[in-house]
């Protein structure tokens, strides 16, 4: 999208098309385009370049408003270990994102312990075990089919005993409309909170960038089950734009904390709102 040419109806239509095709919710899209028209009038913007610039700034503003900015940074507890609980629907990249975070923290000299909290899916523990070896981090695991809350409990104990800086817990993929699975997640939360003596420092919901409007339902349901503190947006190395996060920011005040850009341990970045918005228009 060049944003060149006349500042006419076609320009607004092109912008609307781009936003919708980036998975920005239709209502969010209509709102920001409506506000852009108003800004163009009030600020007497006279070129499509200036209008596009104005739109980009308003999108960045959605992602960085005070209610989001105050919880943007990844939490570090003053009572280690800092505990991250990683949740989300099936196949979005939870386990791989945990490996990436482990790598990121291990490289900066932090001691990380991983909890194999997916005791359900075939070879889930094996998968995390390989990542623990590759990132040279410890893994706490139990037998397959056992209570996931017990694994996280043990990992917190191990974290304290071994002076870990971080304990990052994996959980099984679960669809947000399955009440029994969401109850299981609530139990993991309660057990974690009790043992830790406070709520988990981060509850990160992993979201696949190819996801459309269902992301809103996922976020709402996970937030009503546990206190989601941020989003990890994965698979942004593909063609999907992940524009739904604008709606998540706007309506639910959810910060995007990290983005996944590939399948290797190093393919992770701290979320940059300006870079993200620029990416929508590329």
């Amino acid at each position: 999208f060049t944003g060149r040419g006349a500042l006419d109806e076609d320009f607004y239509e092109e912008l609307e098309t781009l936003l919708i095709q980036s998975d920005v919710n239709i209502h969010t899209t209509e709102r920001v385009i409506g506000e852009l028209r108003k800004a163009v009038r009030e600020e007497r913007l006279d070129s499509s370049e200036k209008a596009l610039d104005c739109l980009k700034r308003s999108l960045v503003a959605i992602l960085t408003e005070p209610a989001i900015a105050e919880k943007q940074a990844l939490k570090v507890s003053d009572k280690p270990p800092t505990l991250f609980l990683v949740v989300g629907v099936n196949g979005v990249g939870k386990t791989t994102s945990i490996a990436k975070m482990a790598d990121m923290y291990a490289r900066s000299g932090k001691k990380v312990i991983l909890a194999a909290g997916d005791t359900f899916r075939a070879a889930a523990i094996d998968q995390l075990e390989i990542w623990a070896q590759r990132t040279q981090t410890e893994l706490v695991k139990h037998k397959e089919g056992t209570d996931p809350a017990a694994v996280v409990f043990d990992a917190i104990r191990a974290g304290r005993a071994r002076g870990a800086d971080y304990v990052i817990a994996d959980t099984a993929g679960r669809l947000h409309n399955r009440s029994n699975l969401m109850d299981e997640l609530k139990k993991i939360y309660r057990v974690t909170e009790k043992e830790l003596g406070r709520a988990p420092d981060e509850i990160l919901m992993v979201l696949d960038a190819t996801t459309g409007q269902n992301a809103l339902s996922q976020a709402k349901n996970f937030m009503s089950a546990v206190n989601v503190t941020g989003i990890i947006l994965t698979k942004l190395d593909g063609t999907a734009k992940g524009g739904i996060v604008l709606t998540l920011a706007n309506e639910l005040k959810l910060p995007i904390k990290l983005i996944g850009l590939g399948e290797r341990a190093q393919d992770i970045e701290i979320f940059d709102p300006v870079k993200f918005v620029d990416g929508l228009f590329e």
Binding site: I26, V89, A123, D126, R178, G212, G238
Partner: protein
């Protein structure tokens, strides 16, 4: 729901005989909203509205159906027609083994679907073989082996140290199947981006070497506007014979199915409706149409 939204639009239509263009234009706005919220691709929505608008105008408001029901019927019928006919399974080859190759983006449910298809055909009295062609993802081979143990279906693997390429693993698997009397071979492949040329070439090579009877694109039902992009790219690179929508037990509307039908015309073969290996259903266009409409 769409019917309720259309009710509001048509409140003032009591006593009118026919739907005018103005009535229909307003109704189409609600239909457009419903389809976009269902993740149908924007361009596909535009084409769809153009097609049905003319059919909806001048539709006689019959005694038996209200204007709302008329419009919903036109929309629903067109959706069902576009989604394609009810599928009754895959094409089995008269000369075994029938080879089914699965492909798609990362995390869509291919490995699990391999188990589901194996279980489905085993229950029909067949002798399936699952093939672990994903040599990249940590514990992908183990994952398939665990599924194989659950349903007592053999899994063909190549020892990691052999460093065999996925296409050669597939080829060896077919030979193994012929020697062992397996009449269905299901190839699980690694998830990949459609824009990854090397990995797309790898799939192309696999397809060329083993000429599968079915090449199925495995699609996560919650996919949004991007569906047209990767579906088109997979379709241009491989002779896809159909696609499978997974995680249909979620609450996503599944509009991506319409998008993919629009840009590839390949049929929807199955719906995966859960994590268990028996959670596989044949495709019903009428059910998916009403789900998309909401």
């Amino acid at each position: 729901s769409l019917s309720e939204k259309l009710q509001d639009v048509f409140q003032r239509l009591r006593g009118k005989g026919r739907l005018t263009e103005a009535d229909v234009t307003e109704a189409m706005r609600e239909v457009r909203l419903a389809l976009l919220e269902a993740d149908v691709n924007l361009q596909v929505v535009r084409d769809f509205i153009t097609r049905i608008k003319d059919r909806a105008i001048g539709v006689d408001v019959l005694e038996s159906l209200s204007p709302v029901q008329q419009v919903v019927k036109v929309v629903n019928d067109e959706l069902v027609a576009l989604l394609g006919g009810t599928q009754t399974g895959l094409q089995l080859s008269p000369t075994p083994p029938t080879v089914i190759m699965l492909c798609g983006l990362q995390g869509t449910g291919k490995t699990t679907l391999t188990g589901k298809l194996a279980y489905y055909y085993k229950k029909q009295g067949r002798n399936p073989l699952m093939v672990a062609c994903d040599i990249y993802r940590p514990a992908a081979v183990k994952q398939l082996e665990v599924l194989g143990e659950q349903i007592k279906v053999p899994v063909f693997t190549s020892p990691a140290q052999d460093k065999k390429s996925p296409p050669s693993i597939a080829r060896s698997a077919i030979e193994h199947a012929k020697a062992n009397g397996n009449d269905i071979v299901i190839l699980d492949t690694a998830g990949r981006l459609a824009i990854d040329e090397d990995l797309m070439d790898e799939l192309g090579q696999m397809q060329a070497w083993v000429t599968p009877h079915e090449v199925l694109l495995v699609v996560d039902a919650m996919v949004g506007q991007d569906a047209v992009n990767f579906a088109k790219q997979f379709y241009e690179r491989l002779p896809l014979t159909g696609f499978v929508m997974t995680k249909m037990d979620g609450d996503t509307r599944g509009g991506a199915a319409l998008s993919i039908r629009a840009v590839t015309s390949i049929p929807i073969k199955f719906m995966s409706v859960g994590e268990k290996l028996d959670a596989l259903e044949p495709f019903h266009p009428d059910r998916l149409a009403s789900r998309i409409l909401g």
